[in-house]
Protein backbone atom coordinates (compact mmCIF):
# COMPACT_ATOMS: atom_id res chain seq x y z
CA UNK A 1 0.00 0.00 0.00
CA UNK A 2 1.51 3.40 -0.86
CA UNK A 3 1.82 6.19 1.69
CA UNK A 4 -0.92 8.28 0.10
CA UNK A 5 -3.54 5.56 0.31
CA UNK A 6 -2.41 4.48 3.74
CA UNK A 7 -2.68 8.00 5.17
CA UNK A 8 -6.05 8.51 3.48
CA UNK A 9 -7.39 5.40 5.19
CA UNK A 10 -6.02 6.53 8.51
CA UNK A 11 -7.54 10.00 8.15
CA UNK A 12 -10.94 8.64 7.14
CA UNK A 13 -11.49 6.73 10.37
CA UNK A 14 -14.54 8.04 12.25
CA UNK A 15 -14.02 10.41 15.15
CA UNK A 16 -14.16 9.05 18.66
CA UNK A 17 -17.73 9.63 19.84
CA UNK A 18 -16.87 9.66 23.53
CA UNK A 19 -15.19 13.08 23.35
CA UNK A 20 -17.60 15.79 24.53
CA UNK A 21 -17.29 19.55 24.45
CA UNK A 22 -16.45 20.89 27.92
CA UNK A 23 -19.51 22.31 29.64
CA UNK A 24 -17.62 25.57 30.32
CA UNK A 25 -17.11 25.98 26.58
CA UNK A 26 -20.80 25.39 25.86
CA UNK A 27 -21.68 27.92 28.55
CA UNK A 28 -19.31 30.54 27.18
CA UNK A 29 -20.51 29.97 23.62
CA UNK A 30 -24.14 30.32 24.71
CA UNK A 31 -23.39 33.54 26.62
CA UNK A 32 -21.53 34.92 23.59
CA UNK A 33 -24.46 34.07 21.28
CA UNK A 34 -26.88 35.84 23.57
CA UNK A 35 -24.65 38.93 23.68
CA UNK A 36 -24.54 38.87 19.87
CA UNK A 37 -28.32 38.44 19.69
CA UNK A 38 -28.95 41.33 22.07
CA UNK A 39 -26.72 43.54 19.96
CA UNK A 40 -29.16 42.97 17.08
CA UNK A 41 -32.29 43.71 19.09
CA UNK A 42 -34.33 42.60 22.09
CA UNK A 43 -34.59 38.89 22.82
CA UNK A 44 -37.89 37.17 22.16
CA UNK A 45 -40.19 37.82 25.15
CA UNK A 46 -40.37 34.93 27.61
CA UNK A 47 -44.09 34.46 26.91
CA UNK A 48 -43.32 33.81 23.23
CA UNK A 49 -40.54 31.41 24.16
CA UNK A 50 -42.94 29.49 26.37
CA UNK A 51 -45.63 29.49 23.68
CA UNK A 52 -43.09 27.99 21.28
CA UNK A 53 -42.89 25.04 23.65
CA UNK A 54 -39.55 25.79 25.24
CA UNK A 55 -39.15 25.49 29.00
CA UNK A 56 -38.44 28.39 31.32
CA UNK A 57 -36.38 28.20 34.49
CA UNK A 58 -38.02 29.09 37.80
CA UNK A 59 -36.81 32.71 37.67
CA UNK A 60 -37.91 33.22 34.09
CA UNK A 61 -41.26 31.64 34.93
CA UNK A 62 -41.78 34.14 37.73
CA UNK A 63 -41.08 37.03 35.38
CA UNK A 64 -43.26 35.51 32.67
CA UNK A 65 -46.38 35.29 34.85
CA UNK A 66 -46.04 38.87 36.09
CA UNK A 67 -47.88 41.53 34.14
CA UNK A 68 -44.73 43.10 32.76
CA UNK A 69 -43.83 45.03 29.61
CA UNK A 70 -41.84 43.45 26.78
CA UNK A 71 -38.59 45.06 27.92
CA UNK A 72 -38.82 43.12 31.18
CA UNK A 73 -39.82 39.94 29.36
CA UNK A 74 -36.92 40.28 26.96
CA UNK A 75 -34.22 40.83 29.55
CA UNK A 76 -31.67 38.00 29.75
CA UNK A 77 -31.89 37.03 33.42
CA UNK A 78 -28.97 34.61 33.10
CA UNK A 79 -26.71 37.68 33.12
CA UNK A 80 -27.42 38.18 36.80
CA UNK A 81 -27.72 34.53 37.76
CA UNK A 82 -25.08 32.53 39.65
CA UNK A 83 -25.72 29.58 37.31
CA UNK A 84 -24.08 31.45 34.42
CA UNK A 85 -21.03 32.38 36.51
CA UNK A 86 -20.59 28.78 37.66
CA UNK A 87 -21.36 27.31 34.25
CA UNK A 88 -18.74 29.40 32.48
CA UNK A 89 -16.02 28.57 34.99
CA UNK A 90 -16.60 25.14 36.52
CA UNK A 91 -16.87 21.74 34.84
CA UNK A 92 -19.65 19.62 36.34
CA UNK A 93 -20.90 22.74 38.10
CA UNK A 94 -23.44 22.14 40.88
CA UNK A 95 -26.36 23.68 38.98
CA UNK A 96 -29.56 21.68 38.96
CA UNK A 97 -32.32 24.13 37.98
CA UNK A 98 -34.73 22.57 35.51
CA UNK A 99 -34.77 24.33 32.10
CA UNK A 100 -31.57 26.25 32.91
CA UNK A 101 -29.23 26.12 29.88
CA UNK A 102 -26.13 26.24 32.07
CA UNK A 103 -27.42 23.22 33.99
CA UNK A 104 -28.25 21.35 30.79
CA UNK A 105 -24.76 21.98 29.39
CA UNK A 106 -23.17 19.97 32.21
CA UNK A 107 -21.62 16.66 31.09
CA UNK A 108 -23.00 14.54 33.92
Amino acid sequence: MNDDLWLEQLADMPLEESILAPSCLKSRVYSALIVAAEAEGPLLPLTDTKQAGRGLCVFEHLVQILPSPDAVQSFQYCKICHARVLGERVEKAPIFWPCCPYSEFQNR
Binding site: L7, M13, E17, L33, I34, A36, A37, R54, G55
Partner: protein, 189 residues
Protein backbone atom coordinates in the same frame (compact mmCIF):
# COMPACT_ATOMS: atom_id res chain seq x y z
CA UNK B 1 -54.68 9.44 4.92
CA UNK B 2 -50.86 9.49 4.80
CA UNK B 3 -49.20 11.10 7.79
CA UNK B 4 -46.24 13.34 7.07
CA UNK B 5 -43.69 13.23 9.85
CA UNK B 6 -41.37 16.17 10.31
CA UNK B 7 -37.91 15.42 8.94
CA UNK B 8 -34.61 16.29 10.52
CA UNK B 9 -34.29 19.07 7.97
CA UNK B 10 -37.65 20.49 9.03
CA UNK B 11 -36.66 20.51 12.68
CA UNK B 12 -33.23 21.94 11.82
CA UNK B 13 -34.88 24.75 9.89
CA UNK B 14 -37.36 25.40 12.71
CA UNK B 15 -34.52 25.58 15.22
CA UNK B 16 -32.52 27.92 12.98
CA UNK B 17 -35.53 30.20 12.55
CA UNK B 18 -36.12 30.29 16.30
CA UNK B 19 -32.48 31.23 16.91
CA UNK B 20 -32.76 33.98 14.30
CA UNK B 21 -35.91 35.21 16.09
CA UNK B 22 -33.65 35.63 19.17
CA UNK B 23 -35.37 32.93 21.21
CA UNK B 24 -32.84 32.42 24.02
CA UNK B 25 -33.86 28.82 24.68
CA UNK B 26 -33.55 27.96 21.01
CA UNK B 27 -30.00 29.36 21.14
CA UNK B 28 -29.32 27.06 24.11
CA UNK B 29 -30.68 24.07 22.19
CA UNK B 30 -28.56 25.06 19.19
CA UNK B 31 -25.40 25.03 21.35
CA UNK B 32 -26.37 21.88 23.24
CA UNK B 33 -27.19 19.91 20.09
CA UNK B 34 -24.20 20.85 17.99
CA UNK B 35 -21.28 21.62 20.27
CA UNK B 36 -20.12 18.02 20.78
CA UNK B 37 -19.69 17.07 17.11
CA UNK B 38 -18.16 20.46 16.31
CA UNK B 39 -15.77 20.18 19.23
CA UNK B 40 -14.74 16.62 18.24
CA UNK B 41 -14.09 17.71 14.68
CA UNK B 42 -12.05 20.82 15.53
CA UNK B 43 -10.10 18.98 18.22
CA UNK B 44 -9.19 16.18 15.84
CA UNK B 45 -7.93 18.67 13.26
CA UNK B 46 -5.87 20.77 15.65
CA UNK B 47 -4.23 17.99 17.63
CA UNK B 48 -2.13 18.44 19.71
CA UNK B 49 -2.59 22.25 19.83
CA UNK B 50 -5.75 21.96 21.90
CA UNK B 51 -5.31 25.48 23.25
CA UNK B 52 -6.81 26.82 20.00
CA UNK B 53 -9.86 24.55 20.01
CA UNK B 54 -12.21 26.50 22.29
CA UNK B 55 -11.65 29.77 20.43
CA UNK B 56 -12.26 28.17 17.05
CA UNK B 57 -15.43 26.42 18.24
CA UNK B 58 -16.73 29.72 19.59
CA UNK B 59 -15.86 31.46 16.31
CA UNK B 60 -17.75 28.77 14.40
CA UNK B 61 -20.89 29.38 16.45
CA UNK B 62 -20.67 33.15 16.13
CA UNK B 63 -20.08 32.96 12.38
CA UNK B 64 -22.97 30.50 12.11
CA UNK B 65 -25.20 32.77 14.12
CA UNK B 66 -24.54 35.64 11.69
CA UNK B 67 -25.22 33.38 8.70
CA UNK B 68 -28.29 31.58 10.10
CA UNK B 69 -30.78 33.91 8.35
CA UNK B 70 -29.45 32.45 5.07
CA UNK B 71 -29.84 28.81 6.21
CA UNK B 72 -32.65 27.26 4.13
CA UNK B 73 -32.71 23.75 5.57
CA UNK B 74 -31.35 22.21 2.38
CA UNK B 75 -28.69 20.31 4.31
CA UNK B 76 -28.63 19.14 7.91
CA UNK B 77 -27.64 21.90 10.31
CA UNK B 78 -24.78 19.75 11.57
CA UNK B 79 -23.25 19.47 8.08
CA UNK B 80 -23.74 23.17 7.54
CA UNK B 81 -21.94 23.94 10.80
CA UNK B 82 -19.16 21.47 10.02
CA UNK B 83 -18.66 23.30 6.72
CA UNK B 84 -18.08 26.54 8.64
CA UNK B 85 -15.78 24.70 11.04
CA UNK B 86 -13.78 23.34 8.15
CA UNK B 87 -13.20 26.88 6.85
CA UNK B 88 -12.03 28.01 10.27
CA UNK B 89 -9.67 25.04 10.59
CA UNK B 90 -8.22 25.72 7.15
CA UNK B 91 -7.79 29.39 8.03
CA UNK B 92 -5.80 28.22 11.04
CA UNK B 93 -3.61 25.93 8.89
CA UNK B 94 -3.04 28.70 6.37
CA UNK B 95 -2.00 31.22 9.03
CA UNK B 96 0.32 28.78 10.76
CA UNK B 97 1.95 27.55 7.55
CA UNK B 98 2.46 31.08 6.29
CA UNK B 99 4.34 31.95 9.44
CA UNK B 100 6.36 28.78 9.96
CA UNK B 101 9.74 28.41 8.27
CA UNK B 102 9.84 25.49 5.85
CA UNK B 103 12.64 22.96 6.33
CA UNK B 104 15.51 22.84 3.82
CA UNK B 105 14.87 20.97 0.60
CA UNK B 106 14.24 17.32 1.19
CA UNK B 107 16.75 14.72 0.19
CA UNK B 108 15.33 11.84 -1.79
CA UNK B 109 12.67 10.24 0.29
CA UNK B 110 12.35 6.54 1.00
CA UNK B 111 10.27 4.45 -1.40
CA UNK B 112 6.56 5.14 -0.98
CA UNK B 113 5.19 2.11 0.74
CA UNK B 114 3.17 2.53 3.88
CA UNK B 115 2.48 -0.27 6.33
CA UNK B 116 -0.72 -2.20 5.79
CA UNK B 117 -3.19 -0.50 8.11
CA UNK B 118 -5.55 -3.45 8.40
CA UNK B 119 -2.78 -5.81 9.20
CA UNK B 120 -1.13 -3.70 11.85
CA UNK B 121 -3.75 -2.31 14.21
CA UNK B 122 -7.45 -2.19 14.84
CA UNK B 123 -9.21 1.07 14.11
CA UNK B 124 -9.20 2.56 17.61
CA UNK B 125 -5.54 1.76 18.18
CA UNK B 126 -4.60 3.03 14.75
CA UNK B 127 -6.35 6.32 15.46
CA UNK B 128 -4.63 6.60 18.82
CA UNK B 129 -1.25 5.84 17.27
CA UNK B 130 -1.83 8.39 14.50
CA UNK B 131 -2.69 11.01 17.10
CA UNK B 132 0.50 10.30 19.03
CA UNK B 133 2.62 10.51 15.91
CA UNK B 134 1.01 13.75 14.78
CA UNK B 135 1.76 15.13 18.22
CA UNK B 136 5.39 14.09 17.96
CA UNK B 137 5.92 15.57 14.49
CA UNK B 138 7.22 19.11 13.91
CA UNK B 139 4.26 21.45 13.53
CA UNK B 140 4.89 22.17 9.88
CA UNK B 141 4.74 18.46 9.00
CA UNK B 142 1.70 17.91 11.15
CA UNK B 143 -0.20 20.77 9.50
CA UNK B 144 0.46 19.66 5.94
CA UNK B 145 -0.54 16.07 6.71
CA UNK B 146 -3.75 17.12 8.44
CA UNK B 147 -4.60 19.50 5.65
CA UNK B 148 -3.79 17.06 2.85
CA UNK B 149 -5.20 13.81 4.27
CA UNK B 150 -7.68 14.74 6.95
CA UNK B 151 -9.15 17.68 5.00
CA UNK B 152 -8.57 16.15 1.55
CA UNK B 153 -6.95 19.21 0.00
CA UNK B 154 -4.55 18.89 -2.90
CA UNK B 155 -1.02 20.23 -2.78
CA UNK B 156 -2.04 22.82 -5.38
CA UNK B 157 -4.90 24.10 -3.21
CA UNK B 158 -2.63 24.26 -0.17
CA UNK B 159 0.02 26.10 -2.17
CA UNK B 160 -2.50 28.62 -3.44
CA UNK B 161 -3.80 29.35 0.05
CA UNK B 162 -0.40 29.66 1.70
CA UNK B 163 1.34 31.59 -1.06
CA UNK B 164 3.95 28.85 -1.47
CA UNK B 165 4.75 26.94 -4.66
CA UNK B 166 3.09 23.56 -5.31
CA UNK B 167 6.58 22.07 -5.55
CA UNK B 168 7.47 23.34 -2.07
CA UNK B 169 4.27 21.84 -0.67
CA UNK B 170 4.89 18.52 -2.44
CA UNK B 171 8.41 18.39 -0.99
CA UNK B 172 7.07 19.21 2.43
CA UNK B 173 4.42 16.50 2.13
CA UNK B 174 7.01 13.95 1.05
CA UNK B 175 9.15 14.68 4.09
CA UNK B 176 6.14 14.72 6.39
CA UNK B 177 4.96 11.33 5.08
CA UNK B 178 8.43 9.93 5.53
CA UNK B 179 8.68 11.18 9.11
CA UNK B 180 5.21 9.88 9.86
CA UNK B 181 6.05 6.44 8.51
CA UNK B 182 9.33 6.25 10.42
CA UNK B 183 7.53 7.07 13.66
CA UNK B 184 4.74 4.62 12.84
CA UNK B 185 7.28 1.84 12.54
CA UNK B 186 9.08 2.88 15.74
CA UNK B 187 7.67 0.71 18.54
CA UNK B 188 8.19 3.29 21.30
CA UNK B 189 5.90 5.92 19.76
Amino acid sequence: MPVTLPTTLDSDLALAQAVVARDRKAAAEFVQTHSDPLYRYVRSRLQPRFEFVDDIVQEVFLTAWKSLPRYRGEAPLRSWLLGIARHKVEDHYRERLRNLPLPDDAEDTLPLSGPDLDATLDQARAQQAAGKILTALPEVYRLVLLWRYWEHRSAEEMAERTGKTPKAIERLLARARQEFRVLWLTPSV
